[in-house]
Symmetry: C2
Subunit: 108 residues, 2 copies
DNA sequence: GCCCGATAGTACGATTGACGTAATATCTGG
DNA sequence: CCAGATATTACGTCAATCGTACTATCGGGC
């Protein structure tokens, strides 16, 4: 799983959000380092919904503009747990190798 | 940066290795969960060398078989530090959201 | 009055990286 | 003598991201 996809799932660990809300949440979570384009976002939403990791909570029409709210499914939350473990394992392996070179990752 | 690429750099934090050695090191580092195909590996090596993140250390011919050894450059090590910080930040953000749902990532 | 930016989503082409497999070639072990 | 490990090259394909343009509404500033 790539970073944009991971951050979309992460954004949905809280309240259900609609696409644009997810966009803003991802930007905030990543401190502005990841700003999703429209293609990436809505492509990821369709894909994740197809995989059952997220689901449409409800749809609202505000001023003729559609708002489609997504929530994280239990399966999506489980998958995210697995991904967190993978990221931590990889980060630790790299950090161990870098320490032997005298380099240290700054604490985030 | 995706996982296979990240693990190739991680494998090279130690001694310089040739392609096949990197293959085995990545498999070991990931506890067998990531087994690179030839296409992925050599594609990544060419790309990373082109970006200056790794460099050819030396070439050996053993029984007419080529062994091309790669080392991590300072630039590559720096990039890896950045990536470790990114992974940790993302993992922490997701873990925080999951905790609010009562889920916890098992310690790796 | 008009343009800009924020809001919200759709559509589509381009690019990148990864995936998968086959070919080549040598050496070792059963 | 064949399978499997060693070691690299060379394809073609696919998935995900990137990037941009388009539609459409609303509010604010010039």
């Amino acid at each position: 799983m790539q970073e944009p996809t991971f951050l979309v799932l992460t954004a949905l660990t809280g309240e259900p959000l609609h696409g644009y809300g997810i966009l803003q949440q991802v930007t905030a979570l990543s401190r502005g380092t990841v700003v999703l384009g429209a293609g990436t976002l809505y492509g990821a939403l369709d894909r994740l919904a197809g995989q059952g990791l997220i689901a449409v909570e409800r749809e609202e029409a505000v001023d003729g503009r559609l708002r489609r709210y997504y929530r994280l499914t239990d399966e999506g939350a489980g998958r995210l747990v697995t991904e967190v473990e993978r990221l931590r394992r990889n980060a630790n392996a790299a950090a161990a190798g870098l320490r032997r070179r005298g380099l240290r990752a700054r604490l985030a």
